[in-house]
């Protein structure tokens, strides 16, 4: 995604004598338009980053606090002071929780579709999953508020009662449960279809010869999946999860609708008013923000931009690290 190498402009080094072929016009047109789009993407990316930076500068220069380490967010008045520490934490917490909840479920559904379900059912399910992936996130937010919130309250009570000794489930349980865990569950449901769809594609591509290798050794279906399908699909599942993570990180509406915001850095998942995400903060505050506040929000947006970039690069790294064993 973020290739930083300059586009190759030179011809392939010295074609062997006598085999020099004339380049066809079609090839040239395609090659150049492909190159142009590649460059264009980089230019746009850079332009967006520069734009955000310029817009953020006024607030950053007037900031009395430390932008990176402070947790409070008060970018107004005579002494504006704001920092993204709590917001970054909240953003990552919500996204990672969503991922932790969604990925195993997505892998399970994808495996069921690709390797267990009869063919008819499999194609029906695949179709449904693709449909779910297309639902706008506002709808998931509404679903979270109207359906999930009332249902999840008793479940959280139970979590707290039986697992309350684990700090993350400590009380008092918020009611209504406008907590980070609820938001993460909504996010998880939101990213579930896309992660499932990508994982299913990958699992379906498992080479038959490796599946047969496992089965011919006397593997059961599950053992075959463990020996052939999962190792083959590993990097694809990681990419799928990162795709989901990217979506969860940038998600505004579902979180803004469900979560009761706060700016603490802690892991109390069942308590309201403890966390907030960057995207939801921007969505909530932008409409009524003063010039300076907008500038501060843009600075926060820039941080989100950087996080997403880092996540994507990390994903690439993880995927490429095990190349040797997968090619």
């Amino acid at each position: 995604m973020t290739t930083t190498q300059p586009p190759q402009t030179e011809q392939p080094a010295k074609p062997p004598p006598g085999r020099r072929t004339r380049r066809r016009p079609g090839d040239l047109v395609f090659e150049n338009s492909a190159r142009l789009s590649g460059v264009l993407i980089l230019v746009i990316l850079a332009a967006v980053a520069v734009f955000l930076l310029v817009q953020a500068l006024p607030a950053l220069s007037e900031n009395q606090g430390n932008f990176l380490t402070d947790t409070e967010w008060a970018p107004s008045g005579d002494a504006p002071s704001f920092g993204v520490a709590a917001l970054v934490f909240g953003t990552l917490l919500a996204a990672v929780l969503a991922l932790v909840i969604a990925t195993p479920v997505a892998v399970g559904i994808a495996l069921f579709i690709s390797h267990y379900a009869p063919r008819r059912l499999a194609s029906l399910l695949g179709y449904v999953v693709d449909l779910l992936a297309a639902i706008p996130s506002v709808v998931y937010g509404l679903w979270g508020i109207t359906w999930l919130m009332p249902q999840i309250g008793p479940f959280f009570e139970g979590l707290n009662r039986y697992l309350g000794f684990i700090p993350i489930f400590a009380g008092p349980v918020a009611s209504p449960p406008r907590t980070i865990l609820t938001a993460s569950i909504v996010l998880a449901v939101m990213i579930l279809p896309i992660v499932t769809a990508v994982a299913r594609e990958v699992f379906l591509k498992t080479p038959t010869m490796h599946e047969e290798a496992a089965l011919a050794l006397g593997a059961t279906r599950w053992e075959m999946i463990r020996m052939a399908v999962l190792p083959f699909g590993r990097s694809g599942v990681i990419s799928a999860a990162m795709l989901g993570l990217g979506r969860a990180l940038g998600e505004t509406m579902a979180v803004a609708m469900v979560l009761s915001p706060g700016l603490l850095i802690d892991f109390f998942l069942l308590q309201a008013g403890h966390h907030q995400t960057i995207a939801a903060l921007i969505a909530l505050q932008f409409p009524e923000a003063s010039t300076l506040q907008v500038s501060a929000l843009i600075a926060a947006g820039l941080v989100l931009f950087a996080i997403t970039l880092v996540v994507n690069m990390a994903a690439r790294y993880i995927v490429s690290r095990r190349k040797e064993f997968t090619e």
Binding site: H210, E212, L215, G218, F232
Partner: protein, 259 residues
Amino acid sequence: MAKRIDVSGLNVYYGAFRAVEDVSMTIEPRSVTAFIGPSGCGKSTYLRALNRMHEVIPGTRVEGKVLLDDQDIYAANVDPVAVRGQIGMVFQRPNPFPTMSIYDNVIAGVRLNGRRMPKAELDALVERALRGANLWNEVKDRLNRPGAGLSGGQQQRLCIARAIAVRPDVLLMDEPCSALDPISTLAIEDLIAELKTEYTIVIVTHNMQQAARVSETTAFFNLSAPGKGGMLVEMGDTNKIFTNPDKKDTENYITGRFG
């Protein structure tokens, strides 16, 4: 080890298409049986029906009987997974698990069903299987390297090592050399000659010299009619099949007059 296979009246169907028509034969233990015949005459299909690998493909069906010594592998209470543990298979294209090391590839089958073994025992087993597949000397210093990094012929021997590591009674090989160069092919043929002292071996081959070199018994398959499935034309002592076959079709095929 090394069991006899008794097939009677075997038909194999893909949906409505009968790809193998009414084949009966006896495959002797501790010997090599070669299947020859033009492509599309059902050799692979038939071979896969001998360890129930065809069931992996949806829509397949089998009629008839396959006995492994006295055990009917299609009996209602027999688990296909167990059958495949007893009757191993080597495929046309070498298929080591690409994410596993050489060592892990060899013990892949042994690790199944949650079996646990002390490390020393595993090490011994890996060495035995790799020696059995004539591969030990070539890979003993890089057991933890990926199996996919070996040459094609080495990969195929690795697959054989993996198959014999679970100590099957029978080894089925479907054109195991067709993707290999001549040197690797010879290495595999030597290996087959050694393995037959311990296993019942069935090999499908397109290469008639190979059939003549490695097998004691040869079975010639042919299409029963254009557009129909395959059938067993003739089976017998390899020398006889190649020098003095009973059937005209067999003679035509081995002398290269058709196929």
